[in-house]
């Protein structure tokens, strides 16, 4: 029994130190037993996925029943609404493709390093760890789909989290509200750089160490800055909910309300880090031809 407890203690210590490295984006620095444990966890994630799928089944069944019991009128209204939305999105898409192509060409002319996100991949949330103190989800895409630790995850409204553990077919994603999570960000109105941190509360983020003289207003949109290369720039993180300056502290006390729907169980997008220069140039050419095709 004592042997088992000692082995447990050593494993906890090794695994914890390894996971700290992974979460700080230093997977390459993992070595020895910690690296082995990280690989074992990746493999074991595939084995726990069925349990999470079964636990989610009642909700899937409920959604299915809701769909089946929807009357014709509401389905027609829903289709009408989606068609209208699709038209708006297609129009926006055309403008975005043109602007992306122009942006890539201008960056080439300036010799500036292009920063374009590579392919995004749709993933489904298949489970939520039970501990209310931890903000994480499990998605149904893994290494076989090209997902790697450090990839950013977004939903339709904004930044959602990042991948920390990967198995062959599933991944563990910590949300931006997790205590251990921090994001390099900027104010979209003023461009001021800042760090947004999680505090373990599902509808709250904080701005860390922001000088009291910073121009910040309630309602300002905070977006990813792209610094560090982990999160692509320009994704909404949250809007400023409270700003408080006290005479006792040289820092602002500010909080954000996340824009992403962090509590909903649905689909998200996994985004790889920024593309290289060549890939970005290719992406620019592709985007330009697509924009021309689209008229």
């Amino acid at each position: 029994m004592v042997t088992l407890l000692v082995m447990s203690g050593v494993l906890v210590w090794l695994d914890s130190s390894g996971r700290r490295l992974v979460q700080s984006g230093s997977v390459d620095r993992l070595e020895g037993t910690a690296k082995g444990l990280w690989h074992i966890r990746g493999s074991a994630l595939s084995l726990v996925a069925p349990v999470y799928r079964i636990a989610k089944a009642p909700y899937v069944f409920y959604d299915l029943m809701s769909d089946i019991s929807s009357d014709r009128q509401s389905l027609l209204q829903q289709r009408e609404h989606l068609n209208t939305r699709l038209l708006h999105l297609e129009e926006s898409q055309q403008r975005i493709l043109y602007l992306q192509a122009e942006n890539a060409r201008l960056r080439q002319l300036l010799g500036s390093k292009a920063q374009l996100p590579s392919q995004a991949m749709i993933a489904e949330i298949i489970g939520v760890p039970p501990d209310p103190e931890r903000a994480a989800v499990i998605i149904d895409k893994g290494q076989a789909d090209g997902v790697l630790p450090g990839h950013a995850v977004v939903d339709a409204q904004g930044l959602f989290g990042q991948v920390v553990d990967v198995s062959n077919s599933t991944s563990w994603v910590i949300l931006i509200t997790d205590r251990e999570h921090a994001i390099p960000a900027r104010n979209s109105r003023t461009g001021v750089r800042m760090i947004v941190g999680g505090i373990g509360i599902s509808d709250r983020l904080v701005l860390e160490d922001l000088p009291a003289s910073t121009d910040l207003q309630e309602g300002d949109l905070i977006e990813t800055s792209g610094l560090g290369g982990r999160f692509p720039p320009g994704y909404p993180v949250g809007s400023v909910a409270t700003v408080e300056a006290t005479q006792d502290s040289p820092y602002l006390q500010a909080s954000l309300e996340p824009t992403a729907a962090l509590l909903k169980i649905g689909h998200v997008l996994v985004i790889a880090p920024a593309a290289t220069d060549n890939e970005a140039a290719d992406f620019g050419e592709t985007a330009l031809s697509a924009a021309k095709d689209a008229g």
Binding site: L5, S16, R20, R41, A55, V128, P129, P130, P132, E133
Partner: protein, 183 residues
């Protein structure tokens, strides 16, 4: 009457699902802190009734046609410690944590098994509360050290809800097995 091995296997699978089942969005936040420790309750039930569950998946743990010189207990502890790796992945805990918790509880239950047989339901509930409270203290301590998770009333809430669920859980299990008593 259900087959012992099949019943216990189904109970373990159900407890795994219940332990990760997430509450509806409309549920109040505090309810998430009161989730009973389904896995530990199942473990306690199984270890207490262990001689009745030798079949199926559990056959490998028992020595056949030999006097039990402690080999069974050692095998049980090692198997539970190994099972802890699965729980660590399921719950996102550091490797080794759940193995240590499961093996410690099983060790205590096996060591004092004869004494525990004589306990009343109330005494069992108190024992469940203490064991799960201590297990949650260890779990929170490790999570606090590793991820900075703050101390709160969760260990108390989890132990309390587990204690309250125990009579229902145990009596239902007994009924499913046709009133079979511990041996």
């Amino acid at each position: 009457m259900v087959s012992n091995g099949l019943f216990m296997t189904a109970l373990i699978a159900t407890s795994l699902v219940f332990s990760v089942f997430h509450l509806p969005q409309a549920a109040p936040d505090w309810l998430g802190y009161c989730r009973p420790e389904w896995i530990l309750l199942t473990l306690i039930l199984w270890v207490q009734y262990i001689p009745a569950y030798r079949g199926g998946l559990f056959a490998l743990m028992f020595t056949k046609n030999a006097s039990d010189d402690g080999t069974t207990a050692r095998r049980v502890l090692v198997v539970l410690w190994g099972l802890g790796f699965y729980l660590d992945t399921l719950l996102g805990d550091p490797f080794g944590l759940n193995g240590a918790i499961c093996a410690s509880i099983a060790f205590y239950l096996l060591r004092f098994r004869d004494r525990l047989q004589m306990q009343t339901l109330l005494q069992q509930m108190i024992m469940i509360f203490i064991m799960i409270f201590l297990a949650e203290i260890v779990r929170t301590y490790v999570r606090n050290s590793v991820t900075g998770q703050p101390w709160g009333l969760q260990p108390l809430a989890v132990a309390g809800s587990s204690m309250l669920f125990w009579p229902l859980y145990m009596l239902t299990a007994e009924r499913m097995l046709g009133g079979q008593r511990r041996t």
